[in-house]
C-alpha cells in the first residue's frame, strides 16, 4: 500500500521536479562559481538558489560601484578640457 501524501500548498503551486531540474541547470551555467565546479557534482537546488541571490546582489553592487566611479570621473574633469570632450562622446 503506497502512502503517497499529497500535500496541499496553501499558496503558489510548487515547482515540479523536472521543471526545477531544468531551470536550476540553466541557472548553474550563469553563475560563475558553480559552473567552475566539476559537472558531476550534484548541486542542491537550495545551494543554487542561494548562489543566485548572492550573484545578483554582487551585480547590483558592481552597477553601484561603476556609477560611482563614473560620477567621480566627471567631477574630476575640467569642463572645457579635451578629456571632457572625449568622455562626453563616449557617454552621449
Amino acid at each position: 500500500m503506497s502512502n503517497r501524501r499529497s500535500r496541499q500548498s496553501s499558496n503558489a503551486p510548487r515547482i515540479s521536479d523536472d521543471q526545477m531540474i531544468d531551470l536550476v541547470g540553466k541557472l548553474r551555467h550563469l553563475l560563475p562559481e558553480i559552473s567552475e565546479r566539476r559537472r558531476s557534482d550534484k548541486v542542491s537546488a537550495s545551494k543554487v538558489l542561494q548562489e543566485t541571490c548572492n550573484y545578483i546582489r554582487k551585480l547590483h553592487r558592481e552597477v553601484d560601484n561603476l556609477s560611482d566611479r563614473l560620477s567621480q570621473l566627471l567631477d574630476s574633469v575640467d569642463e572645457d578640457s579635451h578629456e571632457a570632450a572625449v568622455i562626453r562622446s563616449l557617454l552621449m
Binding site: I15, Q50, L59, H60, D64
Partner: protein, 180 residues
C-alpha cells in the same frame, strides 16, 4: 545564454540617450546626484531592452518612473510607455505565517519517517531561498508562480550582466582617457 553584442549595443544606445536627457542632473549637481542619475538611466536602459515583455522589466520601469517620469517616457517612446508606467502589477504574494504554521501543525500529527523529515526540511529551505530571490528580483513579490520566478531570474541576470559589461567598458575607457 549570455549577453549578446546586439544586446550590449542596444543597452549602450539607450543608456546614452538617457544620459543626454538627465544631463542637467549630471552637469550642475553634486557627486551623489550625478551618481543617482547615471544609475537610473542605466536601469531604465536595461529595462527598456525587454520592451515590457518581462515582469522584472515592467516592475523596474514603474519604479524608475516614480523617480523620473520624463526620462522613462522618452527612453521607452514607441513601446507603449503610457501603459507600462501605469499598468497595475498583479496581486502581491503574501506569506500568511499563521496559515503556514497551522498547516505545519496539521501535517506533523501524522508520523514521519526520517527520510520524509529530511525531504520536508529540504522543501522548507528551498522555499526560504525562493523568498530570498523574490526580494532581489524587481517585481519578485508579484511572481506567485515559482517557475515564473526562476525564468524571470534567468532573464534578469543576463540583462544585469549586459548592463555591467557595457558600463565597465565605458568606465574603463573613460578612466584610461583621464590617465593619458
Amino acid at each position: 545564454m549570455q549577453p549578446t553584442s546586439s544586446m550590449k549595443e542596444e543597452f549602450l544606445k539607450k543608456w546614452q540617450m538617457g544620459l543626454e536627457i538627465v544631463r542637467p542632473s549630471i552637469d550642475n549637481t553634486n557627486v551623489s546626484e550625478r551618481k543617482k542619475a547615471i544609475k537610473l538611466s542605466a536601469d531604465v536602459a536595461m529595462a527598456s531592452l525587454r520592451k515590457g515583455t518581462t515582469c522584472w522589466s515592467r516592475a523596474l520601469i514603474q519604479k524608475s518612473a516614480t523617480e523620473d517620469n520624463f526620462l522613462v517616457r522618452q527612453v521607452l517612446s514607441g513601446i507603449k510607455a503610457e501603459t507600462l508606467i501605469n499598468k497595475k502589477l498583479t496581486k502581491k504574494v503574501v506569506c500568511h505565517r499563521k496559515i503556514v504554521r497551522r498547516s505545519k501543525k496539521i501535517s506533523r500529527r501524522k508520523s514521519r519517517s526520517a527520510s520524509e523529515e529530511a525531504a520536508a526540511k529540504a522543501k522548507r529551505i528551498v522555499k526560504k531561498r525562493t523568498q530570498g530571490l523574490r526580494s532581489v528580483v524587481p517585481g519578485g513579490e508579484f511572481m506567485s508562480n515559482d517557475v515564473l520566478l526562476l525564468q524571470e531570474t534567468l532573464d534578469y541576470i543576463v540583462s544585469l550582466q549586459t548592463q555591467v559589461n557595457v558600463m565597465r567598458s565605458i568606465v574603463d575607457a573613460a578612466e584610461a582617457e583621464i590617465e593619458r
